[in-house]
Structure formats: structure tokens, C-alpha cells
């Protein structure tokens, strides 16, 4: 959703508007309305916007670039840390670096969103305002710039680990396929994924509860990580039915160039705020995820700031130190470091000593807390997405370098000099081999993203290794591919193009056979069928030019573009008319005008035909229908949707009972003494003299008499001097029925 300043400007204070005007040629003498008009008009003019952006300082442009990278909004602290990590910013004058954000607001480059006061910045160090910039200002903004890090390359040592883009695409497609095969993930009322569905996804992906291991590196809680990443990358959406489903097919995702896939996923990882790269110390630590979000932004900026030499390997310790120099005094995963306020001394030497002590403590804390997390970032998402090649020495991460994918991602401006992605059309060597036993071996360094997507759609993946992925063509996989819209000739052509060879004869024959099998049963979801009074009438219409195919004596399946003659119409996508009646004893009548093709057959499944358009529902007919697995709700839905007047409640009860429901009913001959005054009733049930007469009671006024005690009870009641009525005063049914 595009965001513009116009609606928020009237709520910006006049003093701040005067400063914001300057970017658009205004001055501080302007009245508020004129100031607003000046800014709005400036933003409407593309040329003025370009000129304004061109005149910004590099760090101010960087701020806009970071907002753009985060999709238009950014928490103020994340922006601050991103700017600091870039190395391009004004020097610190005093204390916290909130001056950076204040400056940007006064320059008219951003406002606060989600607040009544778009010019009010949270001043507490641990609270963050959500900032946004006008979309029109972001249009001419490119990638963020960075001051190169002061870091020297090292000689690589230890074991090198890297991942090919195609291997990553395979993994990501695997996760997307698993979500798709599950039919989406069910959400709780709070909008989080149900624990049981998380477990199902974990099981489908064969992930351990602790995490997944990729070439020796542990990736904790992958379900959480990937669902968050996909969500923030706009690959998932919530349905009205409470499901989290894919927004696009796995194949569609995979058909993007690898670099675009990675950029999308990286955006997701940058924006997520609930997943941890390492095991959590306690649930309170960075509980809102803001620290991690800022940290991930800082890492990506620092990687952008690496000196650009493709062969250079850097020590993780050196990188950490360089990053610390940029952000260490303003950033921590939990609460940011508290700079000394010098309240104890005004003496300059003492102040310097206090500052040094504080810096030592801050660095020491960073090494305990932030450094392990930084290593976690390298060995999880940065490595998984193939952005870095890692060097491991004695089981410890020692160094890294940016991969081709990493350089393209962090330096998109170099995309023009980066080799094209592999493509079967340009390579001299085949992307895969199709063997006569239907196995396909795909070479990951040669296969392009669309080719990989094609294999995923038309073959079963049986294994994937560092350099190859193994697939198998099966009847089911080919069927799935053809159902997705591929034609047989297209399938054969792409398989041959990818392998740069003809397919084995037996493979060709089998593919044709499988495609032929698919033609033996056609399921038409929304057919148009024209029913005639007689086969003769149908023939006459055909002779008059009606287009269609005869599917049975009087029925013509119309071609999609066939013009329909004048006809009564029944639309099965809409509710059918309420033209059924039912008695309490289950006799169903159908007034078949117009006569549809489903009602009679539906009733046949549940009832016995008694006459034309008349059916009798019985216990036997219901039991018989339920046997093969039908559900009573199907019959109840049919009756509730089609009956007029509505289903008699007694028949409803009978149907439910025949389907197995039980209702507690008691029937017994008893002698009743009714005693309406509560006080008298209480005395009678509690009297030791009377207790032997009673079998029991139903509150509030019914006492049940032991049959053999009837005469003694009469005598006792006479002794009490009571007049006894021989008839119960009950409400006759029919006269005062509810």
C-alpha cells in the first residue's frame, strides 16, 4: 500500500513544518497551510523530487534506501543502527544517536506512522517509533551506500563450506511444497500457526525438533524461521477460513532468477522479529525481537561495506570488531548500552576515565552476548541462503567471504558484471540426464531456476547432494505436471532440451501411455449441459448449428463458445429452489419444476421411492446410506436447504437417532404425590415419620410413593387433616402447548 505524507502533514507541528519546507524551496515565514501546500506540491512534481533527492547528503539518501529496503516502514532504532552500520553519518556530538532520526524528520524525509502525532518521536532509548517515507521520495532512491569497513583480508584456513543457489532453491521449494501438500497451515484465534500443524510441517520436512543441520551447521527452529521469512517475503497469506496458504505456487517462486529468490527471502529474514539464530537464554531477552531486527540490518549493511574483492576472505573476529566499531556503543540485542552521564564529576580527566571504563565493559558484554549471535547469523540464514562461504577451523567459524550470490545481493549495482545464471539454452553441457529407468540426474551448477522449477513440477525428487539432484519420472508426477497445464509434447521437448539428447524410446512410450490414461476419465467441474425432450429434438438442434457433443440420448455437452437456444436454466453453482416437503413420519415430496439432475438421485441415496416424486425415509434407508461412509449432515443439509416448510423437529430427532445419537428418555408407571407449596414439600421429604412412604422425588414438587405404602400414606395424610385431590392438575397437550 503506497504511503504519502499528504494526510499526515496537517497534524505536523507548525514549527517542524517550517523546517520541512526547506527541501521544497519554502521558508520559515510561511503560514502552516502554505507550508503544507509547498511540501505537497513538491512531492507531486517528479522533477522536484529528483532534484531534492540529488541534493541530499549520502547518509540522508541511505536512510531512504533503508526504508525502501524494509518495504516502506522501519522502526526508528533499526534505521538508526542501519545508518551507523553504513559508516556514513555525522559525527556523534553527545550521548545517544537520536539526533540522526530527528534530523531526518526535520528535513522532511520521514514521518511517524501509527500515531496521532506524525512528528512525535519516542524519546526513550528502549522504545521505537515506526517511521515511513513518502513513496514518491523513495522512487529515485537506489541501493544504500557504505563507507568501506576497515578490515583486511586473511589467508583462508580450515574447511570451506558453500551452498549453490540451486541447492537453496531446492530446499525452499521443498518447504513450499510441504505447505502446499498440507493444504495450508491452520491458524489459532490469535493468528499464530497451530502447534499441531507446526509439528506436521516439521515431520514432513524431517526436521528435528531441535533444528535442522546443514553441512554441520545447526539451524534452530526452522519451522518458525521459514514461516516468518515467507510471511514477511509476501509468499504466504491468511485466508478467511483461518488458514495460512501459499500466495503463489512453489514453481512460480522457483521460476524467478535465483538472485531474486534470495533477495525476497533476505527481506523476510530482515523483517522477522520472533525467531532466534541461537538458543534463547530466557524468554525475556529481546522478547519483542527489535534487537535482532536491528542487528540483522546492521550485519547486512556491514556486509555491503566489505571491500569488494571476490577472492577476499575475512576473519569473523575482524568483521565483528569492525562492526562493533560502528554500532557497538549504541546497540545490544537487549537493552542498548547506557552511556555514562558524568553526573559524579565535571573533571575532564575523570570523565575520560569513566568513558574508557564504560567502553571496556560494553565491548566485554558484546563479546559475551552479541558475538555468538553474530556467528549464529552467519551459520544460519546467511549460509543457508548461500550469501557467504564459510571457513571452519577446529570446529569454530574462522572466516568467510561473500559468494557470487552474496555480492549480487549486497551489491546489486554489480549485477551487470556478474555472470548470467545457468540456462540450458546457453550452456554447452546438459543440465540433466534422463536415464532409461526414468531417473533424472540434474547438475546443480548447470540447471537454471526455471528448469529446476520444471523438474520439481514433473518429477519426484529422490535425493539432493552438493552437486546433483536426483529425480524420477513417475506416472503420478507426470500426471501432476500435465494437470498443471503442461502438454505432453512440451514435457518431452523440455526434457530433451535439458538433456541435449533424445529421450530413450521406452521413456517416450511410457510418457505417452501415462498421458493417454489421463484421457480415460474426464472430470468437468462446471459443465454446460443442454437437456432435450427427446433425442430427436437434440438432433434437430444440432442440424440447426448448435455446437456440442452428445453425452447421452437427450443430453448435449455444449462447447464453451456455443450459443444456447431459448431454454429453462438451472445453475448448480447456486442453491437449488426450496421445492421439497416432508412430513413428521419422513414422507418426502418433490415438486419438480424445473426438473434438476441431482435431487432425485440425492433422495434415492437416503430414502425409498414410494411413488412418482415421493420418497419415504426410514430407519433402514438411513442406516443403509450411512454404511459406505456418507454423513447424516449431508442429508440434513439437503433437507434444510430444500424443504419448505422447514424440517419437522420430530423427524430431525428421528434422523439423528437413526444415525446413532441418543437422548436420555425415562418411562415408568409411578404413583405421584404432587405438593406445590415448597415449605410443605421440604417437610414431607425430611420427616422421619414420612420417609418410609417415598420412593423418591423430583424437585420442586413431585414425590413418588412406594406402591405398597399407598394406603398407609392415605391414612397418614388424613391424619394430617389434608384434603387430597385424586387427580393431578396437569396442562392438557394441544390446549396450552408451548
Amino acid at each position: 500500500m503506497p504511503r504519502y505524507f499528504d494526510e499526515d502533514l496537517p497534524r505536523v507541528g507548525a514549527d517542524k513544518l517550517k523546517k520541512m519546507n526547506a527541501l521544497w524551496g519554502g521558508n520559515n515565514k510561511m503560514r502552516k497551510d502554505d507550508g503544507i501546500a509547498c511540501i505537497s506540491n513538491g512531492l507531486k512534481d517528479h522533477q522536484k523530487v529528483r532534484a531534492a533527492v540529488a541534493n541530499l547528503k549520502p547518509w540522508e539518501r541511505n536512510a531512504l534506501a533503508l526504508i525502501k529496503r524494509m518495504g516502506g516502514t522501519i522502526p526508528s532504532h533499526t534505521l538508526k543502527i542501519g545508518i551507523l552500520a553504513s559508516g556514513l553519518h555525522p559525527p556523534r556530538s553527545y550521548g545517544y544517536r537520536d539526533d540522526l532520526i530527528e534530523h531526518l524528520l526535520h528535513r522532511g524525509l520521514l514521518l511517524v506512522t501509527g500515531s496521532y502525532s506524525p512528528d512525535y518521536l519516542e524519546s526513550y532509548s528502549y522504545r521505537s517509533s515506526l517511521l515511513y517515507s513518502d513513496e514518491r521520495l523513495l522512487v529515485p532512491i537506489g541501493q544504500p551506500e557504505c563507507l568501506p569497513l576497515e578490515i583486511r583480508p586473511i589467508q583462508p584456513s580450515g574447511e570451506a563450506h558453500f551452498r549453490r543457489p540451486s541447492a537453496i532453491a531446492l530446499d525452499v521449494m521443498g518447504i513450499l511444497h510441504a505447505i502446499e501438500n498440507m493444504g495450508g497451515l491452520r491458524l489459532t484465534q490469535n493468528g499464530t500457526v497451530r502447534v499441531s500443524d507446526e509439528a506436521k510441517l516439521r515431520k514432513a520436512m524431517r526436521w528435528d525438533e531441535k533444528g535442522m543441520e546443514i553441512e554441520g551447521f545447526l539451524f534452530p527452529n526452522p519451522v518458525h524461521a521459514w514461516l516468518s521469512a515467507f510471511g514477511y517475503s509476501d509468499l504466504l497469506q491468511k485466508t478467511e477460513g483461518g488458514l495460512l496458504v501459499l500466495k503463489e505456487s512453489p514453481e512460480h517462486f522457483a521460476s524467478r532468477p535465483f538472485s531474486e529468490q534470495i533477495r525476497l527471502l533476505l527481506e523476510g529474514f530482515l523483517r522477522m522479529d520472533t525467531w532466534w539464530e541461537a538458543s534463547i537464554k530466557n524468554s525475556y531477552f529481546d522478547n519483542d525481537g527489535k534487537g535482532r531486527s536491528q542487528g540483522r540490518m546492521a550485519i547486512t549493511m556491514a556486509l555491503t561495506a566489505l571491500p569488494l574483492n571476490p577472492e577476499s576472505v575475512y576473519s569473523i573476529r575482524d568483521f565483528d570488531k569492525a562492526l562493533y566499531q560502528r554500532i557497538g556503543e549504541d546497540f545490544a540485542l537487549d537493552y542498548p548500552p547506557n552511556r555514562p552521564s558524568y553526573y559524579r564529576s565535571t573533571d575532564a580527566a575523570r570523565q575520560k576515565q569513566e568513558l574508557l571504563q564504560w567502553q571496556e565493559t560494553t565491548r566485554s558484554d558484546w563479546l559475551k552476548q552479541e558475538f555468538p549471535w553474530l556467528v549464529g547469523a552467519f551459520t544460519t540464514w546467511l549460509y543457508f541462503m548461500g550469501l557467504v562461504e564459510l571457513f571452519v577451523d577446529n570446529g569454530q567459524l574462522a572466516g568467510f567471504r561473500l559468494t557470487d550470490t552474496g555480492r549480487v545481493t549486497f551489491h546489486p549495482e554489480l549485477a551487470t558484471v556478474t555472470p548470467e545464471e545457468p540456462s540450458a539454452q546457453t550452456e554447452n553441457q546438459p543440465a540433466w540426464v534422463v536415464q532409461p529407468n526414468f531417473d533424472i540426474i540434474a547438475y546443480l551448477e548447470r540447471v537454471s531456476a526455471p528448469q529446476l522449477a520444471f523438474l520439481e513440477r514433473h518429477a519426484e525428487r529422490t535425493a539432493s547432494h552438493k552437486h546433483t539432484a536426483h529425480y524420477r519420472l513417475t506416472r503420478e508426477s507426470v500426471y501432476r505436471g500435465l494437470e498443471s497445464g503442461t502438454k505432453l509434447e512440451e514435457l518431452v521437448h523440455i526434457l530433451q532440451t535439458g538433456s541435449q539428447a533424445e529421450l530413450a524410446q521406452n521413456v517416450l512410450v511410457e510418457l505417452r501411455e501415462w498421458a493417454g490414461l489421463r484421457e480415460r476419465i474426464l472430470l468437468r467441474r462446471e459443465a454446460r449441459l443442454l437437456e432435450f425432450a427427446s433425442p430427436h429434438a437434440l438432433q434437430t438442434s444440432l442440424e440447426q448449428g448448435l455446437k456440442g457433443s452428445i453425452v447421452a440420448g437427450r443430453f448435449l455437452l455444449l462447447e464453451p463458445d456455443a450459443k444456447v437456444p431459448e431454454a429453462t436454466s438451472i445453475d448448480y453453482a447456486k442453491p437449488l429452489p426450496k421445492n421439497l416437503t416432508a412430513t413428521e413420519t419422513g414422507l418426502i415430496g418433490w415438486k419438480r419444476i424445473p426438473s434438476d439432475l441431482v435431487t432425485a438421485a440425492q433422495l434415492d441415496q437416503w430414502a425409498e421411492v414410494t411413488a412418482d416424486d415421493s420418497w419415504q425415509i426410514t430407519r433402514t434407508s438411513v442406516t443403509k446410506a450411512l454404511k459406505p461412509g456418507k454423513k447424516l449432515t449431508e442429508l440434513l443439509d439437503l433437507l434444510n436447504n430444500r424443504l419448505k416448510p422447514s424440517l419437522p423437529p420430530l423427524l430431525d430427532l428421528a434422523l439423528r437417532s437413526w444415525a446413532g445419537a441418543s437422548y436420555p428418555i425415562e418411562l415408568e408407571s409411578v404413583i405421584v404425590l404432587r405438593c406445590r407449596p415448597e415449605k410443605v414439600f421440604q417437610v414431607l421429604i425430611s420427616s422421619p415419620l414420612m420417609i418410609s412412604y417415598w420412593k423418591g422425588y423430583i424437585y420442586p414438587d413431585l414425590l413418588f410413593v412406594e406402591r405398597e405404602q399407598l394406603e398407609p400414606l392415605r391414612e397418614r395424610l388424613q391424619w394430617l387433616g389434608w384434603q387430597i385431590s385424586e387427580r393431578l392438575n396437569i396442562i392438557p397437550i394441544g390446549k396450552h402447548s408451548p
Binding site: 431454454a567 445453475d571 441431482v598
Partner: protein, 69 residues
């Protein structure tokens, strides 16, 4: 009935061989999704049951072609 009746958005199953449809009607799990048989090779599918029928057909080893109209 002199004027024809147009049945719109009607779920249908068409088979290449009448024996296939006979087999499906003989399978209680498939038959519960089938309604009127219009001819030896054509039957009406219960509205809203197409996906369930498709799942049953796949389970029975068929690979039906699913079409919109």
C-alpha cells in the same frame, strides 16, 4: 418438456469405457459422490463433491483429467 433445459455449472464425470463407470458405482466410496447416470459413460457428480471424488479416483489408481467446463 418442450423447451430444452440448460444445466449450468453442473459437475460431470465422463469415462472412455462404460466399464469404468460401472466399477465406480460398484465402489461404495466412489459411488457416494455420484448421482444420476445420464448414459453408459456419463454421470452427474454431487455438487461440492468433485474434490472428494478426485481423491478417491487417485486412490483407486486413476489419473483423471480435471477440466473446468
Amino acid at each position: 418438456m418442450t423447451q430444452p433445459v440448460l444445466h449450468k455449472n453442473l459437475p460431470l464425470i465422463e469415462v472412455a469405457d462404460a466399464l469404468i463407470l460401472d466399477d465406480l458405482y460398484a465402489d461404495p466410496q466412489a459411488a457416494r459422490h455420484l448421482l444420476a447416470q445420464l448414459g453408459p459413460t456419463v454421470a452427474v457428480v454431487a455438487p461440492g463433491e468433485m474434490d472428494n471424488l478426485l481423491m478417491r479416483l487417485l486412490k483407486l489408481g486413476h489419473t483423471p483429467k480435471v477440466m473446468e467446463a
